[in-house]
Symmetry: C2
């Protein structure tokens, strides 16, 4: 950018964002330059606000603003159901289904010996603490259906089952609206193994 | 986003940016949430800084921070060459060529009767003022090679030629490294008309 050093500084910051290359950064920078001041500052304020107000929920390790996150604080949630996820970002897609009405527990990752992530790096101790003190009827382990996620799920299941709490896992199978023709063999194999009576 | 209202506010602001949909906004929001505080605030500050420090150069209407923009203020530029462009963003690609060492004049758009943009909506009066008071040897009209840009170039050429100042326009033709096979007929036609002896 030629003419003003602070525009270059903005471009540098924008290019550090995920999925933003030089062209997108330039388009966004020009949008900010042309936007009215209040509108552009709302974005700056939203970033600052998130960094000052958001912390981890001490109960479930989701993002939170108050003492607890909105989900843990809600009186409407079923406290007998607990869904274990790897990251806070995994909560949004589950909430959008409106099928699960319980609480969450965010592990903060998944077991990965390759990356040096063992049980002590995840919020597993806190999970076991919740299971010991709260009255949980079922634990749904919704870690990702990949190697790390499956390993984590198996590890947690072995840990939780002795407590006498049922442990479940979302079904693997064909995506709704998908084509048999384009399904990979692992997914289709899982779908066949998990076939259900009609 | 579930758990914290300020995250939703950030998502709303991010989705207003050009080329940023809900998925990109979410990826960027999680990046900001995971980034260390200083790093995230640098982005917020860069936005605020641009909005408070950047204004239009009173001479050429490029973005500027000081009295004049960096280009107008530079003693190294050839003050006898003036390149007319539509928008400040058109200056960066020309500067990158390192072929042009003169000053710029930003019109702030291009003539478009359809959108109600006439000569009075552009910085044409200021351009004529510069040509009357400064010692300009050549005016390069680098408006876009589309209908509005060509119309604007033709209009300006008619206005400037009576002053006895040569007016030029960048050549239209085949992009370097391009394929004849894929050239559109208008571009190839221009390239043939503008053929040069070898």
């Amino acid at each position: 950018m030629y003419g003003a050093a602070s525009i270059q500084a903005l471009l540098d910051e924008l290019e550090r964002l995920p999925g933003i290359g030089p062209k997108s950064a330039q388009r966004i920078a020009y949008w900010i330059l042309n936007a009215d001041k209040a509108s552009a500052l709302r974005l700056a304020d939203a970033i600052a606000q998130v960094k000052s107000a958001v912390h981890f929920c001490p109960q479930c390790f989701n993002y939170a603003e108050g003492d607890l996150c909105d989900i843990c604080a809600s009186p409407k949630r079923d406290r007998g159901m607990l869904c274990v996820v790897s990251e806070p970002r995994d909560i949004a897609p589950i909430e959008r289904t409106a099928v699960f009405g319980g609480l969450y527990h965010v592990l903060g990752g998944a077991l990965s010996p390759m990356e040096g992530i063992g049980p002590d790096e995840l919020h597993i101790r806190e999970l076991m603490g919740r299971l010991a003190s709260e009255d949980v009827r079922e634990v749904v382990i919704a870690t990702n259906p990949n190697i790390e996620g499956e390993t984590t799920a198996a590890y947690l299941a072995r840990l939780i089952k002795p407590l006498g709490i049922p442990v479940t896992r979302p079904a693997s199978g064909l995506p709704v609206g998908g084509d048999l023709e384009f399904a990979d063999e692992v997914t289709l194999g899982r779908a066949l193994e998990g076939r259900r009576p009609l």
